[in-house]
Symmetry: C2
Subunit: 449 residues, 2 copies
């Protein structure tokens, strides 16, 4: 095997391309990077002698197949809904396929065909999902191997801003998909606590956050993800009584975000007909009902939220400019789109800003009559607004896995996610060289816990 094809040269591609090009110097591989924007692909490949940039409109079936035909391993960084077309080609042309996206039902249905053709289709091979699976499953398997009985598993991840680049009262900037941040949590979060199902609807999600402490960094807030229950099956923990997955934000974020929800600014379902000509101030005024008394719009919003005029929440709303007479200027936008556009400007990384990933796992288990708890924590900062920890931790695991496949070290064929020892051990081992080091703290819990 000599040829690697990477489809997509966007934000998450840089670290992957750099890793694979570097490895190709030792192994003599040849790397093709294809993108609808050929200049983007050229800029990522540079003048590397073993790299080639090419133009690809992925909807052009013949062009796509021609490129895939010439590869041994294909990495798809396309938007998630486009992977499946590449997957069909890979089945047909007998090529291995790697993505960082959640594995869809359609993709899982290709499992038998992939296995029959001895193909490796690996999904969820990035950060979250990806490193979360590998690091959690490694520890879970370790606890079970030494005779422990797992009682609880909780896992939280946050894409945050590094303390030295944190210069706004929200203590947050966008380091990944802004739209997902604005719409986060809509639906009903589901998890298990001591054998009981727990559901949190969106209207309470950012009220019912929990607090975690990260050594050297202080307290953070965690709100529940929608999908915790799914992970019991995925990790083979069908009867685990407590499982929770969550998202980490800096202290103070959840109360302020909850204020935006209560006002109505995260609704993405229906456009505001006159949004173009409104100002942010008139938008806020329009949300005030008859019961919010008199006073300025800002005072009435504070009153409605149950906040004092200069509370931390109100200061965060002020900083966003929600009470300013500036025109919104977007036609027929949903409240969520209006908010996203405002935040894109306010929460934009400056060129030198560093992002920070925090991943925290909590495992509770019983062994030798004792209740024990292990917390395992990863903190990693990026270098600047381009070379982010986020893009590195999405790209490098895929790169390492590409290498393992090219070297013939992966035997598990079919459609998988990285929860098997054969995969997580070597990938996590090499990730240590890239700063992915989890710090573990283990303690015996009091008997009544």
């Amino acid at each position: 095997m000599k040829n690697i094809l990477i489809i997509g040269a966007g934000r998450s591609a840089t670290a992957l391309i750099n890793y694979v090009l570097k490895q190709s110097e030792s192994f003599g591989w040849f790397v093709t990077v294809a993108d609808a924007n050929p200049e983007l692909a050229i800029s990522k490949v540079g003048s590397h002698p073993q790299g080639r940039a090419t133009w690809l409109d992925v909807t052009k079936v013949n062009d796509r197949r021609e490129l895939i035909e010439r590869a041994d391993v294909v990495v798809s960084l396309l938007p998630a809904h486009l992977h499946i077309e590449v997957a069909y080609d890979c089945i047909r042309l007998k090529k291995h396929l790697i993505t960082a996206s959640y594995v869809s039902k359609e993709m899982y249905r290709l499992g038998d065909e992939a296995r029959n053709r001895e193909l490796i289709f690996m999904g969820e091979m990035g950060l979250d999902p990806g490193i979360d699976h590998m690091s959690a499953k490694q520890k879970i398997d370790e606890i079970i191997a030494k005779g422990g009985t797992l009682k609880a598993f909780r896992s939280y991840t946050g894409g945050l801003i590094a303390p030295e680049s944190d210069d706004n009262p929200w203590h947050y900037k966008f380091t990944w998909n802004p739209r997902n941040v604005v719409l986060a949590g809509q639906g009903t979060a589901q998890y298990l606590e001591k054998g009981k199902y727990k559901y949190i609807p969106y209207n309470r999600l950012f009220e019912q956050y929990r607090t975690i402490n990260v050594e050297g960094l202080g307290d953070f807030e965690v709100y529940a993800n929608r999908d915790s229950l799914l992970y019991r099956e995925v990790y083979g923990l069908g009867d685990l009584p407590s499982i929770l997955r969550g998202t980490i934000r800096n202290a103070g974020f959840c109360d302020a975000w909850n204020a935006l929800i209560k006002i109505g600014l995260t609704d993405g379902s229906y456009p505001i007909l006159e949004s173009k000509d409104l100002t942010y101030h008139s938008l806020m005024e329009a949300y005030l009902g008859p019961r919010e008394g008199t006073g300025s719009v800002r005072e009435r919003i504070a009153d409605f939220l149950g906040e004092t005029p200069f509370s931390p929440v109100m200061r965060k709303l002020d900083w966003l400019g929600l009470f300013r007479n500036k025109r919104i200027g977007i036609e027929r936008a949903t409240p969520a789109l209006i908010l996203e556009n405002l935040l894109l400007e306010k929460w934009k990384l400056k060129p030198e800003d560093k992002d920070m990933i925090i991943m925290r796992h909590e495992f509770e288990y019983e062994m030798d009559g004792e209740n024990r708890e292990v917390t395992s924590t990863l903190v990693l900062e990026g270098n600047d607004s381009v070379d982010t920890a986020m893009s590195k931790l999405v790209g490098v695991p895929m790169g390492i896995f590409v290498k393992l496949v090219m070297q013939g070290k992966i035997k598990e064929t079919g459609v998988n996610i990285p929860v098997m020892k054969q995969v997580y051990d070597p990938v996590l081992e090499e990730l240590k060289e890239h700063g992915v080091v989890f710090k573990e703290v283990e303690r015996v819990m009091p008997a009544d816990a």
Copy 2:
């Protein structure tokens, strides 16, 4: 013109079919009723000598066109998204088309073609939309014609249960689409009050209801519809400073429905993974967070809602059986689907139950230096659970309009809704014979209003 084709023989078809068959006796028309369920069509046509029932799978293009080809006027009672295919056929085959559904953008785009072929494409020709347009626009045009300047227009409609059939604490039963009732109001309601935009997000919609009094029936609650602003253009009232459309419910409904929203039971976006094996009681327990104290699930829900244990809201929740240990029994259902299935049973009309339509318009206008208000109110009861006021008021306006078209009395071609005098005058006049009589009260408002 001799031939009328009615596509769809469901709930809303009965009154229309009866009306048109009756008229056909005087006018010598021939009426074809087509449905995917031929027995349903047969049952509606009976043995009427001028009626014919036929089977039609509307996705079978040739069958559909063959039927349309033989008609002069086509009435489509299909689900809203299917009208457009019928409309294309009607353009091609030069047939008039009538529906009771909201006119879609695609349908409006056929306006020029319909006009060029001298075709009448009339949409929104039922109750709401339909009678609301006609009765409101008639009054608005009358006020303007006599020299008044309109200052405010508010219009509310409710499909309710008649007082003599009202035997549950919610004072509500389903008389139309249950799914729409469960999901009602999601998004952001928009209206205008004294020149200012007002937006109400879903999380406050059922708190911010207003109260209206209907003579002889007492107080009712009104929550805002999502789309009030659209009606300014539709009625040619571009600079009207106050406009609001709303939905009428019996007193006490909104607070109790708001409790269901707060608990999380109206979320239709994401399935509860383990819904099949839960009981309603365990579902309610799962919604309780850590802050709801101790006590029974019912007590903690009351506490969370800020209700006393036997408040009207808690009694309504009790009556639904939300605290019973009965299995939900639906696999992977969203909370909204779980609620809909529960309500389908609890809010089902008994055979002899009568429904009741209330429509209320409020017009404020200035004339001769005086501020005046007219309220115009329609109350109409059905006969039983089949012959409902709802189905009558959806079907009969379409029937009357079919007659007017067949008689050549309608000159307005193109895609329209019934807001022109030529249409609303004769339709409303004949509707009086069917009990559609609005009661008007006019008063001079105090100078400071």
